[in-house]
Amino acid sequence: MSRVRWWRRLVPPLLSAVLLMAGSAAAVLAAYPASVDVNRSGFNPPCDNDANVIVPKMQAAAKAAYARLGHVAEDYTGTQFTRAATLGRTAADWGYYVHSHGDFYLNADGRRYTGFREDSGDCSQAVVFSKDIKAKRAGRQSNLVFVSTCHSADAGTTLPDAFAIAKTKSTGTPQGPEFYVGYLGLQWDSDEWVFEQRFWNALAGGKSVGASFDVAMLGAFNSPTFDADWWGTYHWSGAAGPWTLCKTCS
């Protein structure tokens, strides 16, 4: 057998392996986008003279985590994270993470809604209201939504509803492959970073979203009153797309 014929025999299996890898990755990745919006400008140059390095770390951790869950994860900051861009993307997003300044902001309609500020690359940052997101998503199913802002999980938060996530904690009767995480009141960046890294790491280790939240809650926080909350399906694996139950989860 010649050298050429020897390699010919290897081509089909190698080709099939490559196609399998590329094809399956594309099939998984194309279906479930996740956007990671991070306001850096508000806490870094040009608005402050020095960098706040905690914020980019949260961005890197969130993007990597959504990718591990099977999403096509893209991160946006500066002029890529504007109110218009976020609202333009949101209808297609299965996963969503945002880190910014958050509050109950007064809307032009005279009512208050939970929201967060865009980045926009400058220091004049418009508010993205839950009302805006809800209108764009129009009840579309969400997977994991992590709103890393102050007040995002206060009792009256209007953001879960914008992502069609009911504010109920489901264990026995699952409410779908969805989970919303946010913070109560005012929280320090360093504590949020500890919480988020613990949460993403537990998820990466195969724990359910609820178990990951519980593990994250037991971090070494600088503030003894740190608090976060969640709504959704405790036992869900966090994997992108429709139902995927975690076999080993409680």
């Binding site: 299996p13 508000g42 360093s190 070494a220 600088n222």
Partner: protein, 300 residues
């Protein structure tokens, strides 16, 4: 020819195995390298059989003491590069093989964490009052073989499902931020979780700088950082505390809070006016000995 046939059969297998390895994510390196944001904090390390048996026994004893559910245990030793410690994680499983509780023990055998998994819906038992939460929490701390001293910080916690009761660590009258013992209780006072942190402290500076000097340094730092907006900041606290240095304001710092805590002057600013629209509070942490910047924090 036989060799060729063999290769033709194994190459796809190797290729597929490679895909599998890529899919599950093999650590790029092993050893004591630092945590990098975007990566995992923990990775399994070798646990000798005798140590696994010991951890399993500790897990069973703790389960009995705290009433943790589960009928069997799975044990792993994890190197946590974010928390800078190695611990044995004992995961309790129910009859169906589902995870129902987690306990972690530092390699000296002390409890680092205990957690009952799942959600404990309100209404199982009568809610307890704040005044009862501290004594209930203390009972669980002692049952876990730990102790708690000083004034407890008790607060109603949505994330805990009821109450959070913390005993922050205090050394020579100064708080050690992030360290101490914390218990989370369900609204009816049942056990939910427990965490203990006791990180190493650097030497106390022999000649600490005065509070006034620290405040001046912090105000100079704020003026540089916030430039024209610095007028919107007001100092609300100047206090000493042990802190884990971080890279909040220094791109060359570590991605995880530092392993060894340092004594710092913590100077807190509150934002007012237009600055408060994007930033609420800022802290700068200055080395209590030489005033150098150890890190800091923000509430956005």
């Amino acid at each position: 020819m036989n060799r060729i046939k063999y290769l033709a059969r194994v190459v796809p297998v190797i290729a597929l195995a490679g895909i599998g390895l890529v899919a599950v994510g093999v650590p790029a390196s092993q050893g004591g390298d630092a945590f990098v944001a975007g990566g995992r904090s923990t990775r399994p390390v070798v646990l000798p059989a005798s140590a696994a048996d010991q951890a399993r026994a500790r897990g069973r004893a703790l389960a009995t003491a705290l009433g943790l559910p589960g009928i069997s245990q799975r044990v792993a030793r994890l190197d946590d590069r974010f928390d800078h410690r190695t611990y044995d994680e004992v995961t309790s499983l129910d009859a169906a093989g589902r995870e129902v509780a987690i306990a972690r023990f530092t390699t000296d055998g002390r409890v680092a964490m205990a957690l009952v998994l799942g959600w404990h819906a309100a209404g199982r038992g009568a809610p307890i009052a704040e005044s009862a939460a501290e004594s209930r929490g203390l009972g669980f701390v002692r049952a876990a073989g730990l102790d708690a001293a000083g004034r407890a910080v008790v607060h109603e916690s949505a994330g805990a499902g009821g109450w959070s009761v913390a005993w922050p660590r205090v050394v020579d009258g100064l708080p050690v931020r992030g360290d101490g013992v914390r218990v989370t209780l369900w609204a009816d006072g049942a056990f939910h979780g427990l965490a203990r942190a006791e990180r190493p402290l650097a030497a106390t500076p022999a000649r600490p700088i005065a509070a006034g000097a620290a405040r001046t340094l912090a105000e100079e730092w704020a003026a540089r950082r916030f430039d024209g907006s610095a007028g919107g900041l007001r100092v609300t606290a100047v206090e000493r505390a042990w802190v884990a240095p971080n890279d909040a304001f220094s791109p060359t710092g570590p991605d995880a809070p530092a392993e060894t805590l340092r004594l710092a002057w913590v100077v807190r600013f509150e934002a007012r006016g237009p600055l408060a629209e994007r930033l609420r509070l800022v802290e700068t942490w200055l080395d209590a000995g030489d005033g150098s910047l150890l890190g800091g924090d923000m509430v956005e």
